[in-house]
């Protein structure tokens, strides 16, 4: 066990000492309190080592107390709830929490993988690229799995996530991101205006930086007062544990709300995380700033922390260092940590990189206060190295000038402050480039989109009074932007807070890299093990752009996305290049701001909620009557029925026999159905179909083919004229939506002068096909009194009738090639009519048949369907060229004549019959001429295949180069997936009844 560096103070902190919380770390039982984060509980328990680093397996401790944490990434939970790489700083401590440290074997304390550290000279920037790219192309693919195993952080689980996640839409007049001094003030101003305000805070408590202030002080009083005021405003809603992940166009913000602390029970529908899509009229960004580390040798040793984090742990969690603390800083802010530690009885040495006299307006006062508290202050002094392996033991200090004697100080904690970087991720998401501000040595948002406002530390206002004033003004401005101009009154500042001028708010004098560093790794990016040397190497190898630097060194990648490292790195790089920081530029921050579970992004779109299913009106009947279902696009369709066999292979043959020899009924409700009405409907149809529709008589149906404007086939179907100005169109199942949109587009954009209206009837009418030689007899039994004789209802005839008061549409047309009728009834009566026909025609042996038989029957007949209408075939490819009207205009007419579409070598529709009785044909087979070498893409492929009961062999439809010009030739059907080659012959696609005698029976 590593030496403890910290301990819990006997009192203080925002923790509830009456509520102890037990948890385990690597199986060891530890205890913290309600109000602790996992990180603070670990520190209170004296755990110094929180993990091993990504590449070099160096021991690491906590760096921060917040979302920027690069080191303390733990694996939480067990079994199917195991989740890796969770920052301990952002995790509420919970009863029985199971935490494991990562990236070490056999244990974090004794990590044998730390030999990597010895090989460190090899593991420099670009190591993988340089080492594993050879000897051949594709070598990386070989090495990658091994490398991924050796490097990397925690491992997830392959079990499915048992938790539930939700999504929600939300709207607000004003969204305030961040609840620090600026955010609270902004929310209050906007709230007073009457605007609907949502205040989001990623922490479990509101207050931001105020939470790290001493309890019982004036800032705490101010915070409590403002929270009280906000709570009293019904139009203000505060969301804790809610992180703004991304800011998008249209003032849309993605939030993730974490509710794990409530122990949500998925069985009760409780969500573990909720992704909220929030649309706001105005947005106030009060996201604060993050402290930067300093770069010196061994600055990654456990115990080296951000100075502000030391203060957070002290005040918020009552965790104090054991023994002396050394503070290293280049600005005023770390003095507060020094003063507060000294007040808590901790011995403090403060090494201030800045020389005297004090550069900031308030520096002298800070120094005086610290001195008074007994802090040892060494100005013009840098920490250049720390000693200690798994825990820091002492710091080496040296004058910044390079001369003078080195000194050492024993210490348990080293707090460092390299300045503050505004958290400008959200403005960066909107595409606004940050701008560098010399006075605060940091990037600021380069501007704001209309309706966006910034305040506080994000704007470089690091003093509390300035942040509050700016926040209040931004809140009022945002409310006004959202249409709430009501006066918002004034706002009291906390007692004793002096207003500072912005320019010298914290007196920073940046020293990006301490000069004359001793040997030892000086880390810039802790999570990715990127050191100053790696940056130098990248520079030496010619990497100039920060974006390239990032990808070459992996700097700024990983779960923290370089929150602590980016600015230091690019400043050092600018130094190496001899250019200014603005010229070097910064990388672009992209969403998400912090890590988010994939489950949360999926929400409830999992399992059968992944996408909706379309169900026929007869769906329930199929389920109850032996129907086996199959997905067909969004539809569930009856595939085959148990009456016909116990497998699809057996059943569809029986069902085909039923239709060829008796009568069957199939559910065709999924066909697209479109109401086309208006005085110009005939003209409209005549323009969209290739064949003539102008003179279709009332009571007649006609088969038609539509082209898209490329001249390729869009869809086929039938349209029936039921009245002078009223038509009933059907489309294929697959193209129903597309045809409907196409028709609407043409009417609105191309021919707005046509008096035509279209409406989808797909959901309105249930459809069933009654097919077979006994189809007429069956319907005569079902619809007595309706004259169905060939004279009254000939082939391609249609009529409207009724059954028990239910309107019924009958169209005599055939997909199967047999005598057949399509029967339509309003959807809610679908089952009633279906059952009625089955019952009435029972003496004829009528039974249902499914999609497999339906498809097989049409292949025998040589009807094209979705597999042939794939948006790549032309009218001529499908053998339908003769249908095209010669005298009339129709969509696609001109482009259909493109030379390429008229080439005799195009792959066009053929029938294929199997010549080897013991073999079968397979869909997708590649077609070759008998004399061809079997390689490449061949001369075509099989689109649809079935066993033909009429011909007692496998038959297929396919596309073949030159098409029916090769009728009678022998070909080879190759199916490489199974290593099969089958001899076959090109034949007419009309395998049965080419004259159509059965249709007209």
């Amino acid at each position: 066990m590593t030496r403890a560096l910290t301990r819990r103070l006997p009192q203080g902190g925002r923790i509830d000492r009456k509520r102890p919380i037990a948890f385990t770390l690597d199986g060891r039982r530890l205890e913290g309190f309600a109000g602790d984060t996992l990180a603070s509980a670990l520190m209170a328990a004296g755990v110094t080592l929180v993990g091993r680093s990504f590449k070099l397996h160096r021991p690491r401790g906590l760096l921060s107390a917040g979302v920027e944490e690069p080191n303390a990434l733990l694996t939480l939970g067990e079994g199917d709830r195991r989740e890796p790489n969770i920052p301990a700083t952002m995790t509420d401590l919970m009863h029985d929490m199971v935490a494991r440290r990562q990236n070490a074997w056999p244990s974090v304390e004794l990590d044998l993988m730390a030999v990597n550290s010895l090989a460190a000279p090899l593991l420099t920037a670009g190591f993988y690229y340089k080492t594993f790219m050879g000897p051949r192309r594709g070598s990386w693919m070989f090495y990658e799995p091994f490398i991924r195993r050796a490097a990397g952080l925690g491992a997830g689980t392959y079990e499915s996530d048992p938790d539930r996640y939700e999504t929600r839409h939300e709207f607000a007049d004003v969204l305030v991101v961040g609840s620090g001094p600026a955010g609270l003030a902004a929310a209050l101003a906007a709230g007073r205006s009457g605007a609907r305000v949502v205040l989001v805070e990623q922490d479990s408590l509101a207050g931001g930086s105020l939470l790290s202030e001493p309890l019982g002080g004036p800032l705490e009083t101010w915070r409590n007062g403002r929270l009280g005021e906000l709570a009293a405003l019904p139009n203000v809603s505060i969301r804790l544990r809610a992180t703004a992940l991304g800011l998008y166009d249209g003032n849309t913000v993605a939030l993730v709300e974490r509710r794990g602390h409530l122990r949500p029970d998925p069985a009760k529908g409780e969500a573990r995380q909720i992704v909220v899509t929030l649309r706001a009229r105005a947005i106030v960004l009060a996201t604060g700033a993050a402290e930067r580390p300093l770069v010196f040798a061994n600055n990654d040793r456990p115990g080296v922390m951000l100075a502000s984090a030391v203060r957070s742990y002290l005040h918020r969690f009552a965790v104090a260092p054991i023994g002396r603390v050394v503070i290293a800083t280049n600005n005023d802010s770390a003095y507060r940590t020094a003063v507060d530690l000294a007040a808590a009885g901790v011995a403090v040495t403060l090494a201030d990189l800045r020389a005297t006299p004090a550069p900031g307006a308030h520096t002298a006062a800070r120094q005086a206060e610290a001195k008074q508290r007994g802090v040892e202050i060494l100005t013009g002094t840098a920490v250049i190295d720390v000693a200690g392996g798994k825990a820091v033991t002492h710091a080496t200090l040296a004058p910044i000038s390079g001369g003078g004697a080195r000194q050492t100080r024993e210490c348990s904690i080293l707090g460092m402050s390299g300045g503050w970087s505004p958290v400008l991720h959200l403005t960066s998401h909107t595409g606004i480039k940050p701008r560098y501000d010399e006075t605060i040595a940091a990037f600021l948002p380069g501007g704001y989109a209309p309706g966006h406002f910034g305040a506080g530390a994000l704007q470089g206002r690091f003093d509390i009074a300035g942040a509050i004033r700016q926040g209040f003004a931004a809140g009022a401005a945002a409310a006004a932007h959202a249409g709430h101009g009501k006066s918002v009154g004034g706002l009291m500042l906390p007692e004793g807070v002096e207003a500072a001028a912005a320019a010298d708010a914290y007196g920073i004098e940046p020293v990006w890299q301490v000069p004359n560093l001793p040997k030892g790794k000086a880390f810039v990016d802790f999570q990715n093990d990127v050191t100053v040397k790696d940056l130098a190497l990248a520079h030496q190898e010619g990497y100039q752009s920060v974006e390239h630097l990032k990808r070459y060194t992996t700097l700024g990648m990983g779960t923290d996305q370089g929150k602590t490292s980016n600015i230091n790195a690019l400043a050092i790089m600018a130094g190496l290049r001899g250019v200014g920081i603005p010229e070097a530029g910064t990388t672009t921050f992209r969403p998400p701001y912090s890590g988010v579970a994939l489950g949360a992004l999926a929400g409830r779109s999992t399992g059968h909620h992944f996408r909706p299913q379309r169900l026929s009106p007869m769906h329930d009947w199929h389920l109850a009557n032996g129907g086996e279902m199959i997905e067909a696009g969004p539809w569930m369709r009856s595939w085959w029925y148990r009456w016909a066999g116990n497998s699809v292979g057996k059943a569809y043959i029986e069902e085909m026999r039923l239709v060829r020899q008796g009568v069957g009924i199939a559910d065709v409700s999924s066909l697209g159905k479109i109401d086309v009405q208006g005085p110009d409907a005939a003209e409209f149809l005549n323009r969209i179909y290739v064949n003539g529709f102008a003179k279709l008589p009332v009571g007649k149906a006609r088969y038609g083919v539509m082209l898209n404007d490329d001249g390729l086939v869009l869809d086929d179907g039938t349209t029936t004229r039921f009245a002078e100005t009223r038509y009933f169109m059907t489309t294929t199942t697959a193209q129903a939506g597309e045809v409907m949109s196409w028709l609407e587009f043409l009417l609105q954009a191309a021919w707005p002068d046509l008096k035509v209206q279209v409406a989808s009837l797909t959901d309105e009418w249930a459809g069933m096909a009654v097919s077979g030689p006994k189809a007429r007899a069956a319907l005569e039994l079902a619809l007595p009194g309706c004259d169905l004789s060939d004279a009254a209802l000939p082939y391609m005839g249609a009529l409207e009738t009724a059954f028990e008061g239910v309107p019924v549409r009958l169209i005599r047309l055939s997909f199967s090639g047999e005598l057949a009728y399509e029967v339509y009834a309003p959807a809610d009566y679908g089952i009633a009519l279906w059952e009625h026909i089955l019952g009435a025609a029972a003496p004829l042996g009528i039974k249902p048949y499914g999609l497999e038989a339906l498809a097989a029957l049409r292949i025998e007949k040589g009807h094209v369907a979705g597999l042939e209408l794939d948006h790549r075939t032309s009218l001529d490819d499908l053998g339908l060229g003769k249908m095209a009207g010669k005298e009339k205009a129709f969509v696609g007419r001109e482009l259909r004549q493109r030379p390429n579409l008229q080439s005799p070598d195009r792959w066009s529709l053929v029938g294929i019959e199997c010549l080897e009785p013991e073999k079968r044909l397979r869909g997708g087979s590649i077609l070759f001429a008998a004399s061809d070498k079997i390689e490449g893409h061949g001369r075509g492929y099989i689109t649809s295949v079935t066993f033909s009961i009429e011909l007692n062999k496998y038959i297929a439809l396919g596309l073949y180069q030159g098409g029916l010009a090769h009728k009678g030739e022998e070909i080879l059907c190759a199916f490489p997936l199974k290593g099969e080659q089958t001899r076959a012959r090109i034949v007419s696609p009309h395998f049965i009844d080419p004259e159509g005698k059965r249709l007209h029976a």
Binding site: E166, T167, R168, H169, E170, F171, R196, D265, K268, G269, E270, A271, T277, R279, R604, H608, H609, R611, P612, Q613, R614, L615, S616, P617, H619, D620, W635, S669, D675, Q677, G678, P679, E724, T725, R726, P752, D753, K755, V756, Q757, A759, S760, L761, T762, D763, E764, W765, E804, G805, V806, P826, A827, D828, Y829, G830, I831, A832
Partner: protein, 197 residues
Amino acid sequence: MPERQSAIAYALAKGGHDGPDGHRALKLGAVKGGSLIQLAAFASTLGQLEQAAAPLIGAALPAKPGVVTVAGTRRLLKIGPEQFWILGPDADDLAAKLQAGIDPGVGVVTPLSHSRTRITIEGALARDLLAKGIPLDLHPDVFREGHFAQTGLHHTPVLLLRSGPNRYEILAMRTFALSVWDWLTDAAMPWGYDVTT
């Protein structure tokens, strides 16, 4: 005449679900039967259609979309530049009257009673339930009683109508209705729901 069979009949028969605390905070259900007529003019005949339809309906067609006009037992919705929906009782002869009374050169009538499944959601949490899937601001001051919107739910187009202080109706495509219902009942799990028929 046979009875109409709802697309979600079996799902409705399954009944409600207790929330974690044993409560059933929401009421979900379906409007039984009901008629829906689509009435549409051509670009140049909107005025003529409005004139012709008003006496047959007994009320003027709404001039603006988004707000329902109540006309006796019927509700009139303008759903497009020249398109209207008329929601009426199950046995309504209005479609026939309109078909007979409106010149086909002026407008068209399309009965769509079976094409939509009307799902009802009632309760103080109805808004929260809808917020899980519908990207519209349903704040009571924004989406008021009688307001409606054509929007999307669970990847399908729906028409959402606020029919009471805490009551909403969703007109879902019939073929997708069961998926939408499943989605809604799953979303309602954390609060519990009763099924009203």
